[in-house]
């Protein structure tokens, strides 16, 4: 039986809204995806200089100069700011330029929540590279011989791989490796990880040489072997390495050590390597950047100007609306366009949070008796109030003076060493963030503004 025209219209609108809710799902999109929006090409450059262009430039300069040594760069981004999306674009552009690119998803080979040391980082990356080769269909004997030497080195340093059922069997013909098992042990067995760290602690130089030797062999087999065009290794997810509870400080200090004292170990001759790193490393210790060929932090979308009034950046807000319209008919969700502007502003240019806000708007519209009615200002303000209220949970009273100082000066200064851990946490939770328009400046998120007033 057919329903009334009204009920049919309601059903249709509910289906549209269900699609809209899903359109705002949180996931990185590649440049070929129709939802992808090129902020770097938008008028007014909402993120300042294109970060991908900066990373590519360092590679191209080294290639043009004929230096066969490669480069070593850092790339950071705030949680949910679109970093993985930009890395997907970087890979696509480099491949289009004729580079061989290996992208290792760090999360698949590293336990991101346990202390990390340079040695076990390199072992994990070697295994990650092995997995990529395996996925590319590289023949098994090649993989065995590549990693076999590496594994033999571990055996020589008394890391007992057999004891842990780490997927390694030693036979007369050499080590046989089950990469999947080895990965499981490395990411899920703290005892195994601790033993690897313990045994390798005194052998870092040897290990680095082994790793470099391994990567040189990978280049021979995998790369196009052009002396002036080094292949590219992108290591993603390292910015997510962080502890919870009492291990938090230890892990943070470990990351500082890796990217500061052991920066030399992260350089791989003959490769352009891009390491992702937690944003606080570069933002809180500017001297780290001197250790790398380039250090880039992906800023938030600049939705307000760097002036006292924080006047709206009209061009950027228009760009964000264009980005949202790629996901669906967002204009049908609200009465007035100014409501969209307000949602964008309160998100502080944080893309993941903005998508979550739009998802919430679609949800609320769906819940209405007549879902074809757009949400009015009172309703969107309620959603924003809820968002601001929960966002402020990341802030403690003792943070307020410091946040006030950042908001006034638009720069990040640490009152004392003890504040370092807290500062990294506030950067990590995007309470403190950076924007760029020619220069990089700091500010606090929109919800945090209310707290310091």
């Amino acid at each position: 039986m057919m329903g009334s025209p009204k009920s049919e219209a309601i059903t249709k609108r509910k289906e549209e809204l269900a699609r809209l809710v899903r359109a705002f799902d949180d996931a990185p999109v590649g440049p070929e995806d129709r939802r992808y929006y090129a902020f770097h090409e938008a008028p007014g450059k909402p993120r300042g200089i294109d970060p991908v262009q900066l990373l590519r430039a360092a590679i191209e300069i080294a290639t043009s100069a004929g230096a066969g040594d490669g480069t070593c760069q850092l790339f950071s981004g705030f949680r949910g700011s679109g970093k993985s999306t930009e890395l997907l674009r970087l890979r696509a552009e480099l491949v289009a330029d004729g580079y061989d690119v290996i992208l290792v998803e760090g999360a698949s080979v590293i336990n991101l929540h346990r202390p990390l040391e340079p040695a076990d980082l390199l072992v994990s990356i070697a295994v990650g590279v092995g997995l990529v080769l395996q996925a590319k269909g590289m023949d098994s004997p090649a993989k065995q011989s590549l990693l076999g030497r590496f594994i033999s080195f571990l055996q020589d340093t008394d890391v007992n791989l057999k004891q842990f059922d780490a997927g390694v069997t030693l036979e007369a013909s050499g080590a046989k490796i089950d990469l999947a098992k080895l990965v499981v042990e490395m990411t899920r067995n703290p005892s195994f990880k601790a033993q690897v760290q313990d045994k390798l602690r005194g052998h870092l130089s040897d290990l680095v040489n082994q790793f470099r030797d391994f990567m040189a062999q990978v280049r021979e087999r995998f790369g196009k072997v052009s002396p002036h065009r080094c292949p590219v290794l992108i290591v993603d997810d390292l910015e997510k390495v962080r502890g919870t509870g009492p291990e938090q400080d230890i892990i943070q200090k470990g990351m500082e050590q890796i990217f500061w004292q052991f920066a030399w170990a992260l350089r791989v001759p003959g490769w352009h390597v891009i390491w992702t790193a937690p944003p606080y490393l570069q933002l809180l210790n500017s001297s780290i950047t001197s250790e790398y060929d380039r250090s880039v932090v992906l800023p938030m979308i600049r939705v307000w100007e760097n002036n006292v009034e924080r006047s709206a950046d009209i061009q950027s807000i228009s760009a964000v609306k264009a980005c949202l319209r790629r996901r669906g008919d967002v204009d049908s969700m609200v009465f007035k366009e100014s409501q969209l502007d307000r949602l964008i502003t309160v998100s502080s240019g944080h893309i993941r949070d903005l998508m979550a806000l739009l998802r919430e708007v679609a949800m609320w519209q769906f819940m209405q008796q007549d879902p074809s009615d757009p949400l009015n200002e009172i309703q969107t303000e309620r959603i924003l109030g809820e968002y601001a209220n929960t966002s402020r949970r990341a802030v403690y009273d003792e943070d307020l003076e410091w946040l006030k100082s950042i908001a006034e000066k638009r720069e990040l200064t640490l009152p004392n060493e003890a504040k370092l851990a807290r500062a990294s946490k506030l950067i990590d939770t995007a309470v403190v963030m950076t924007y760029r328009n020619g220069e990089t400046w700091f500010d606090i998120s929109y919800p945090a503004h209310d707290l310091i007033r």
């Binding site: 809204l17 269900a18 809710v21 899903r22 799902d25 949180d26 949680r79 949910g80 999360a107 336990n111 991101l112 929540h113 997510k240 962080r242 919870t244 509870g245 993941r352 979550a356 998802r359 919430e360 949800m363 769906f366 819940m367 309620r382 109030g385 809820e386 209220n389 929960t390 949970r393 990341a394 946490k425 990590d428 939770t429 995007a430």
Partner: protein
């Protein structure tokens, strides 16, 4: 911005059940555990009406086990849409072996869980939970799809609307026996005797000291039982837990019947004054009315699954 009634919370939660895709983390901060259980009950009834059930660990270790297990499913197809409920109320008590530990593990496994699981995952806890998640589990925090803070208001009256019989989940226990610590021996003896007579019993003998609030354990036991049997004594009546077991109209907040038993001379608390009670102040009276108690409980198994609050006389 806080939610003031369970209806309001439910209104927000429902579209997440119907529209979402993939794993959705929903954080709900509720001060009193009793309201969390009421919300869970509504969720269970909703799922039951659709022929589905709620996945919930009974103890924290179990939560870790099934999260571990499900994280290990990598390489296989994503799990079907399943609604999961993880109580984190213990995180405010700073117990490293319960809520906090589960929270940290969830945070660590976020990406794997999102790769492998589908459906809403409710994380429900008491005061301070949202702040703890924001600061201790930033990975989870950054992908939250709904954050709900519930505060019960003075005129809260969500039990006005009775649950429809078709939606009522079966009771795992016939009886929830509840008594003071002073009567623990009696409580255990009665439990043993009822079990011998074929009655399923859930007992709680703590959380009834003066000044204590209702514990998760009691609320859970009440929620799962067809009959609630309080053992009345002066010490029991001094406790304030009954304030949580009944609403302002003296209606029990779950769909149980209340069968008070008077063990010693005591003025019944306000919430129970409208009910008749079994007088068990002497051994002789116990033996006289015990068969009646058993018969009432067993008969209820064959009647409507939604008992009206009443008592036997």
């Amino acid at each position: 911005v806080t939610y003031k009634s369970i209806d309001e919370v439910w209104k927000r939660v429902l579209p997440e059940l119907e529209l979402g895709r993939g794993l959705r983390f929903i954080f709900i901060e509720i001060k009193e555990p009793i309201w969390a259980i009421a919300l869970r009950r509504r969720l269970e009834n909703y799922l039951k009406s659709k022929g589905e059930s709620l996945r919930m660990p009974s103890v924290y270790n179990e939560a870790l086990n099934w999260l571990d297990h499900e994280q290990m499913q990598r390489g296989t197809l994503k799990s079907p849409e399943v609604v999961r409920w993880v109580p984190l109320s213990a995180i405010v008590e700073d117990d490293p072996y319960s809520g906090t530990f589960v929270l940290h593990r969830l945070n660590e496994g976020r990406d794997n869980l999102r790769r492998n699981l589908n459906g809403p995952l409710f994380l429900v806890g008491g005061s301070g939970m949202l702040r703890r998640i924001a600061n201790e589990a930033p990975d989870l925090w950054s992908v939250r799809v709904a954050t709900i803070e519930f505060e019960d208001s003075e005129d809260l009256d969500f039990f006005e609307e009775p649950t429809r019989p078709a939606e009522v989940a079966p009771f795992p226990f016939d009886v929830c026996l509840h008594g003071s610590h002073d009567d623990i021996d009696f409580l255990q003896a009665l439990q043993k005797r009822l079990i011998t007579d074929g009655i399923t019993v859930c007992t709680v003998a703590d959380g009834v000291r003066p000044g204590e609030t209702i514990s998760n354990e009691i609320a859970d036991c009440m929620n799962k039982s067809r009959f609630f049997v309080p053992l009345l004594s002066p010490r029991y009546v001094e406790s304030n837990w009954l304030e949580f077991g009944f609403d302002k109209k003296r209606q029990p907040i779950f769909a149980y019947r209340t069968l008070p038993i008077m063990l010693r001379d005591v003025v019944p608390p306000t919430q129970l004054q409208h009910l008749s009670y079994l007088d068990w102040r002497t051994p002789q009276k116990i033996e006289e009315s015990y068969p009646k108690l058993v018969r009432t409980i067993l008969d209820a198994r064959h009647t409507s699954p939604l008992p009206a609050p009443s008592a036997i006389s």
